[in-house]
């Protein structure tokens, strides 16, 4: 009995790991053989970043059951602290991989800290009220980054808010210039690093969910009062899911930011939070594999629709609405199922689908 169950979740998780590995290997081969368009190649790191964003948000929305509309805020907090870290570290280190790794860890820690600051007070709220507060925090983080000035010179890192009052010495360099964001960064993110980050995050999420803590998180989602009645602390486990998720979003932010030479704070605005939420909902709540597929496809889709140019976002919008209607409207769902049954019947020996 137990063995069968272990196998079922383990097998499902294994399929997900293998899918990511296969995706990585195939693209490495395609790149090596020159079969990937430069357009798609440029999308690989962002896809990895969005996949991590989607699975981490799924931990909060799907596993913990709390709607968050400010996930991009943590991405932003991570991205810009990672930019500062990378900009500074590059003056003393040779290895780009090491710089990226340290920047990602720092970005993760800063985002996790932001997660604690946000999470401790707000996780008492629930439902739409929690959603609006996460939205508000996302906006606040954006406002802060848009007014932040960071530079370094021989004296080390220097910060200022609102106005650029930094007077950098000889050889100094601005890292973040308020609304202009970060410019002239070295693009050190790699597809391989993105792949590693996805695998690490999957490992953490899967193992967390299938542990005592994960059960506590899901118990609180399914029935908070019952969970408390068996001695499970709501604030502790809701915060755990929230902070782990924020840390991952922070690392994804660093990966994303260091893939470009220029990044502005508005790249991580409310729309981005929504975009990621769309990945999660389309992929299925609590379904990590679904999130990965949805994030990858929907990141590529607008690019594939580039030939439609002006129409692509419109098509995307219609796709979203139809997708939701098709998966959630009982009539449409039944209709689609009957069609697929008919097709199966026709393909099979026939006559079986007349019920």
């Amino acid at each position: 009995m137990k063995q069968a169950k272990m196998n079922r979740t383990t097998r499902s998780n294994l399929i997900t790991y293998l899918m990511v590995i296969a995706f990585f290997v195939i693209f490495q081969i395609l790149i090596a053989t020159g079969n990937v368009s430069s357009l798609l190649k440029g999308q690989l790191v962002p896809i990895c970043a969005y996949v991590v964003m989607a699975i981490s948000l799924n931990l909060v929305v799907g596993v913990s059951g709390e709607l968050s509309l400010g996930h991009a805020g943590f991405m932003s907090a991570g991205a810009f602290s990672g930019i500062v870290a990378a900009g500074y570290l590059q003056t003393m280190m040779e290895s780009e991989t090491l710089v990226l790794l340290i920047a990602m860890i720092i970005g993760g820690i800063v985002a996790a800290a932001a997660g604690v600051i946000v999470g401790v007070p707000i996780l008492r709220l629930s439902g739409d009220y929690l959603a609006i507060v996460t939205l508000a925090f996302g906006q606040i983080i954006k406002s802060i980054v848009e007014n932040l000035y960071v530079g370094y010179d021989a004296n080390g890192l220097q910060f200022s808010m609102v106005k650029n009052t930094l007077e950098l010495g000889e050889g100094g360099k601005m890292l973040i210039t308020g609304p202009m964001g970060a410019n002239g960064m070295a693009t050190i993110s790699t597809f391989t690093m993105g792949f590693v980050l996805i695998m690490v995050c999957l490992f953490v999420i899967f193992n967390l969910v299938n542990s005592k803590s994960g059960r506590a998180i899901m118990a609180l989602r399914d029935n908070k009062i019952a969970a408390q009645s068996v001695g499970i602390s709501s604030s502790k486990y809701k915060l755990l899911a929230f902070v782990v998720s924020a840390a991952m979003a922070g690392m994804a932010g660093v990966l994303f930011a260091l893939n470009f030479t220029t990044v502005v704070a508005s790249k991580f605005d409310f729309n981005t939070s929504i975009l990621i939420l769309v990945f999660v909902v389309l992929g299925g709540l609590g379904n990590m594999r679904g999130s990965i597929i949805a994030a990858a496809l929907l990141t590529v889709l607008p690019e594939l629709l580039r030939s439609f140019a002006d129409y692509r976002m419109l098509v995307y919008a219609i796709f979203l609405i139809l997708m939701m209607l098709a998966t959630n409207n009982p009539k449409l769902k039944g209709f689609l199922q009957s069609i697929s049954a008919k097709i199966k019947g026709a393909v099979g020996k026939g006559g079986e689908a007349n019920g």
Binding site: M1, S213, A219, V230
Partner: protein, 276 residues
């Protein structure tokens, strides 16, 4: 059936529990909702291994008493001593850790999780490894998870439910859901188990089986059980002490025989007989 004997305090416990401190002593317990006293001056003593009943007409405040004992609501007056310890200021979580577990009138299971996971969630505070060991799958994780698995199955065995371990809790039939709630509560290793209408929706043969099981639970785990129930056959059949609640106040206490013959209780249930 055990004989009920009075304690130096105002409560009564079964004779065999007389040497031991009672598990629960509630005195002057009360709560107001916007001026309305839903429960008022509630006194109850439950012996160490007693099966006690709390009965009364619909809306009498029985579930509210449970919510006060388990701190879903904070009482506005009175004290609750659990195993001699004052539970004043404790949260629902702390009171569970201190030894009270309960089931709910409107079943509250973790519907999307398996039966086994529901039981393991009940064991949460008795599974000893931290989040990091869980994520990194350190040896402690495997030892504790295996132990939890065995324990969960043995608890499910009380109701002969091991074969349902892999099913989603939400997909179980109603009676099985009620039984699973009891198992989950037992998994927290309580000293006092509160059952809110455990026989609701069960047929007579299921109820009879439940009665045996409640006795079996008391005897195996050596705990006290306080239950709310409308099925008088069950209440009169297994409860040693019974308290009757009406309009938030206790109107009678005693053994099943005493309660059955109590005029106030009969009036509370059937209404007053018109004089003349």
């Amino acid at each position: 059936m055990a004989k009920m004997v009075p304690l130096p305090s105002r409560g009564m416990v079964p004779e065999r529990d007389i040497g031991k401190a009672p598990i629960l002593e509630a005195t002057h317990l009360g709560i107001e909702f916007g001026g309305l006293k839903a429960v008022d001056d509630f006194d109850l003593t439950v012996g160490r291994t007693e099966i006690a009943g709390l009965i009364g007409p619909n809306g009498a405040g029985k579930t509210t008493v449970f919510n006060l004992l388990t701190k879903v609501y904070q009482p506005t007056s009175g004290t609750v001593l659990l195993d001699g310890k004052d539970t004043h200021g404790m949260s629902a979580i702390q009171v569970n850790k201190a030894g009270i577990a309960r089931t709910f009138q409107n079943i509250r299971l973790f519907n999307n999780l398996t039966v086994e996971d529901n039981v393991k969630i009940g064991m949460h505070n008795h599974i000893k490894y931290n989040t990091i060991s869980g994520i990194l799958r350190l040896p402690k994780y495997w030892i504790e998870e295996n132990r939890a698995h065995e324990k969960a199955l043995s608890l499910l065995e009380i109701f002969d439910m091991q074969h349902l371990a892999e099913h989603k809790a939400g997909s179980l039939p109603y009676g099985a859901q009620r039984r699973l709630e009891i198992v989950r509560a037992l998994a927290t290793e309580p000293k006092l188990l509160l059952l809110d209408e455990p026989a609701a929706g069960m047929n007579p043969s299921e109820t009879a089986e439940l009665m045996d099981n409640i006795r079996k639970i008391r005897d195996t785990f050596n705990i006290a059980i306080l239950l709310i129930e409308h099925d008088m056959r069950l209440v009169m059949g297994i409860c040693e002490g019974i308290a009757v609640l009406n309009y938030g106040k206790i109107i009678a206490k005693g053994s099943p025989e005493e309660i059955q013959n109590n005029q106030t209780v009969i009036e509370a249930y059937l209404g007053k007989k018109k004089e003349g």
